[in-house]
Amino acid sequence: MAGAQPAASIELTDNAREAARRTAPHVTIRGLTKRFSDATIYDNFDFDIPRGKLMSVFGPNGCGKSTLINMIAGLFPVDAGEILFDGQPLSQIKFGYVFQNYREAMFPWLRAFDNIAYPLRVMGVPKAERITRVEKIVAGLNVKIDLNLYPYQMSGGQQQLVSIMRALIVEPEILFLDEPFSALDYEMTLFMREQLQRIFVETSTTTVLVSHDLEEAVYLSDRILLLSRHPARAVEFVHYDAPRPRTPGTMSEADFISTKAHCLEIFQREVRKG
């Protein structure tokens, strides 16, 4: 019986380690500095992105929201500082990225199907598997679009849906969405919000959403990062823990209204400062 003692304690520490891993930040940003020729966008910026949460970034125009996610995704170099994933500076991490301008982000020479499969092709996944995986994701999202069409033959919402599927097909560890719905009409935006929420509930992928719509940001998020004008500071990291799935009814609950009002107040104070 004495022999069981050490084994149990190892198991415990494994559990503890697992729990620590689950609650540790997914992305750690330390001392981040970024300048463009005429402006300092980030000056010694620190921030942690929590794992498995949907986080929104909200801030005035030109404060550096897109620059931030581009640096995390490795698309822009940083001038100083470090960005760590699970404490490691590795670059082999799989990102999903949805751009605001779907027209310029889709490949017009590929049919929608091949657009979605493109990241798999880059990864060297064989054709048969590419087809099954695209079919799986399309079925999972219950998408009813003719994927034999070229992007320019589709509506804006359909194109953005294709571009979201393209981001999800690699089962990314982190999903970035830079104002993904701002070029869509209102009805399509509402539909796409529900799609995004469903994807998040199903996969719990760490998600960073840049949004210009405070209502949307609060409605979809667990956390809202409020940025100041550049050089950007994290003014506040607001928590909103309403249970999912949230419905349009959520938006009339007191908790939602007060969170939104709080964010708006901070935002207005920050904008007036600048």
Binding site: A73, Y97, E104, A105, F107, P108, W109, V122
Partner: protein, 251 residues
């Protein structure tokens, strides 16, 4: 109404033929200088089917096609290479613009010294002119590839080479076709001029020149129209290929 609209392109042709016939009929111009449309088209028909015009036509087609093909084979890869790095392009931009602005006809004596009197000179001067036009367009097409599309490919893990191949190359295709169409037009101009003056025994340029020397006006007009039809046809050919393969162009 729809059906009438389809006829619009022919209105100009009909007006031209009417004015031409009228001019001949009223003897405004010396009939030796301006034959009737019927005489001209008869000369064209006979020349193309059984006379020397058909042979000359094919000879000019051959030279133009060769020079454009040589130009494309050299200029397209080079343009992609230069365009993929803005710094590299900027460093040779002046040279390209300078030689693009140099009339290719000014190069004839040089190429004559290099290649002698023959097809090689004509084809190489035409290829030289066309190559610069194609090069310039391809390089710009690659340089102006949409930033977002390149970022999208990179975030999906595409290597630099893959981005060049999968994105920039395809992005540059519409502009490449603009270059090819301009290039083939320029090549035709240069070939025809060369056929006129560089000791030629065949080709449309030579045909026009010889007919003029012999004062055979119907033949001369016939050869001019043949050259026009050739230029138009080549342009149309490239447009058709473009529509077929670059279906996203302009969308």
């Amino acid at each position: 109404m729809k059906r009438l609209q389809g006829l619009l392109p022919f209105v100009g042709v009909a007006v031209l033929l009417a004015v031409w016939s009228l001019t001949v009929w009223a003897r405004v111009v010396d009939p030796v200088l301006l034959p009737s449309p019927i005489a001209t088209f008869r000369a064209m028909w006979i020349g193309m089917t059984s006379g020397k015009l058909g042979v000359d036509f094919l000879k000019t087609v051959e030279r133009t096609v060769y020079s454009t093909a040589i130009a494309a084979v050299i200029a397209i890869p080079l343009g992609i290479l230069l365009g993929s790095s803005e710094k590299v392009y900027r460093s040779v931009e002046f040279l390209i613009d300078f030689f693009r602005s140099t009339p290719a006809s000014a190069m004839f004596p040089l190429f004559l010294v290099l290649f002698g009197v023959g097809d090689r000179t004509k084809i190489s001067v035409a290829a030289f002119g066309a190559a610069l036009v194609i090069l310039f367009n391809v390089a710009y097409g690659v340089m102006n590839a949409r930033k977002t599309r390149i970022l999208a490919a990179r975030v999906m893990g595409a290597s630099r080479l893959r981005v060049l191949w999968d994105v920039m190359l395809l992005e540059s295709l519409p502009q490449t076709f603009v270059g090819l169409r301009n290039g083939v037009s320029l090549a035709l101009v240069i070939v025809v001029v060369a056929e006129m003056f560089i000791g030629s025994t065949d080709g449309l340029g030579q045909r026009v020149f010889e007919a003029q020397q012999l004062f055979d006006m119907p033949d001369m007009y016939a050869a001019i129209f043949a050259a026009g039809a050739l230029g138009y046809g080549l342009n149309l050919l490239f447009l058709t290929i473009e529509r077929r393969f670059v279906h996203w162009s302009g969308k």
